[in-house]
């Protein structure tokens, strides 16, 4: 068996992941910039009455003829289909060299140049102070997820900080919270102090049940703030959770603590 065949499981995950992304996007509505639907892979329609299976690149796909929706493939059929998909992918990417986890643990194969994607010549400074550059970002196990450059972590941080900042705004705004008596979260919880998100889930004695942080956020919005409770998937709830958790960076998780 060729080494690349070890990656066959990834192919099926593509189709499942696509379905999950569609599901998640359903609960994600609202006016916030953080209410964007999750990205999805578009799987082409079956043309010959079979089922279309897509690789996790979101591009390479094939139709399994004779397979009905909901019907499982035999093990042999799965191996055949995934082999065919990977062959197709490699035909279109002749310059890519896959290295398997097994080969990688040997030590000799870890320095495959194809996986070392660092800053481009002349752009070394873009990663900023503290970034360790190409060496740290080098793939360890040949996984596609590791194929990122020095700029990517900066982008991820900016995106995360923007999400937290959205929560910061809501936390400090009577209007965005929908408060009716002039009370906002920060009036009792400057910098989200005394919200102790690291202690949830815990038995909340006053509620006589186990509560999550979001239950307490909702309780505060309804009672002291005098607003309307938020759906758990409401972008405002998600942003508030993000802000509160971000303020406790470094605190040890200690669920159930009183």
């Amino acid at each position: 068996m060729k080494p690349e065949r070890k990656l066959i499981a990834v192919a099926l995950l593509g189709a499942i992941g696509g379905a999950m992304a569609v599901y998640l996007s359903l609960g994600n509505h609202g006016a916030s910039a953080f209410a964007q639907p999750m990205p999805t892979h578009q799987v082409p329609q079956a043309k010959e009455g079979g089922v279309v299976v897509q690789l996790c690149d979101g591009v390479t796909s094939m139709e399994v003829k004779g397979l009905k929706p909901g019907q499982a493939m035999s093990h042999e059929q799965v191996l055949a289909v995934t082999s065919e998909l990977m062959d197709e992918w490699q035909r279109r990417h002749p310059d890519k060299h896959w290295v398997t986890a097994q080969a990688d643990t040997g030590g000799a194969a870890t320095s495959s140049p194809a996986q070392t994607i660092g800053a481009a010549p002349g752009n070394e400074g873009m990663a900023g102070p503290g970034a360790s550059g190409a060496a740290a970002l080098k793939s360890q196990q040949g996984d596609t997820y590791a194929s990122f450059g020095a700029r990517d972590p900066l982008i991820w941080k900016a995106q995360t900080d923007a999400f937290v900042d959205e929560g910061n705004k809501i936390f400090h705004s009577v209007k965005l919270l929908g408060g009716t008596i002039g009370v906002s979260c920060d009036m009792c919880h400057p910098n989200a102090a005394n919200t102790h998100p690291e202690t949830y889930p815990k038995y909340q004695v006053q509620l006589q049940r186990v509560a999550l942080l979001r239950d307490m956020i909702d309780w505060c919005i309804e009672n002291p703030v005098k607003g309307k409770t938020l759906d758990p998937n409401d972008p405002k709830m998600r942003a508030l959770e993000a802000y509160i958790l971000a303020q406790r960076k470094g605190a040890a998780l200690d669920y159930g603590k009183h």
Partner: protein, 382 residues
Amino acid sequence: MAARHKSIETKFYEDRERVLKALRNCDRRTFLKIAGATMGAVAAKGLMPPHTFQLVTIANAAVDKDFSGQGAQGDRPFTFAYISDAHLYDRTLNQRFVRSIVKAVDDVNALDPQPDFVLYGGDLAQLGTATQLELGRQILSALKAPVKMMVGEHDWFLDLGDKWQELFGHPTYSFNWKGVHVIVLQSVYEKDFWTARRMTPEERMQTVAGLDNGVQSRFEVGDQQRDWLKQDLSKVPTTTPILVFSHSPLYKYYRNWNFWTDDADEVQAILKPYDKVTVVHGHTHQMLQNQIGNISFYGMLSTAWPWPYAPEGLPPLTIQMNRADPFDQFDGCGDGQFTARADGLVDTVYNLWDRNPVTIKAGYLVSQGKTDRPPAPQFASY
């Protein structure tokens, strides 16, 4: 979940809405019937206001603005009470904070014997408007004992003190009371952060009203007022007990939240020659004590809401209050009394609502915690 678990306050709002609805468009006879029924319901539940809604009239007695000094030659010990940090909005917007300060006024009026005076510790208003300050003045006017007013940043930064001074006079003053020299300071001046940012008065006020935004400047007593303080004390012998009221703590606790006075060290230096100095401050909404050299510091409770202890800088001698129960709007809040003893030191009682009162004897701080240590709280902060 929410529908079955309501706070005392949410129930209060529902009761209130029901009564107000019934009162709309009713004739005098019906009105009396409803008022009677409300009172009856309150009595039947065994509740006293302000736990539930009833029609309350607040007397409109004049606030004592210029303490005449009668009795100034009397003897210690004497007591004084405080109410602080009510943060009133207009009463049409927010009943919660109104009920809290009314509760404190009831507490103080129930003291027997009555205190010599009541110190109001600042932040009467939330956003410094005339309506909010006038509402506060009206509520405090129901106090039986004379009221001494101190200003807070929430009273000041809408119009830079115009309305507050129109109602209560100059924010910096001193008087002698039974052998104690009492000084009230305006400790919440800030260097101009608003002009360069082209802020409106409302934006300036809103910025100062936030604790954790980092935009505003730090509080300060300022050169001019420190000169006044030196001048004021130049006539006072160093053996005279000194009692200072400031809104912000006159030491450096936590800069990010302005639990801080920038020129605190300079003010402490002015007070250093005196044998017995007590500083009582508001602003921090928590039980807080500190001892720096000859100076004992006591933080006052708020009527409106408690603040968590800051993540760093807490004075080591502080006896923390129990973690407040968020489901009880009065927990962690309250008022208190002080006793100026014959020896010129000051004992403190924190009258925590819905909890047992906590007494801090002067000896606890003066001895650096070696004597009179009060019990530690059951639930310290996280």
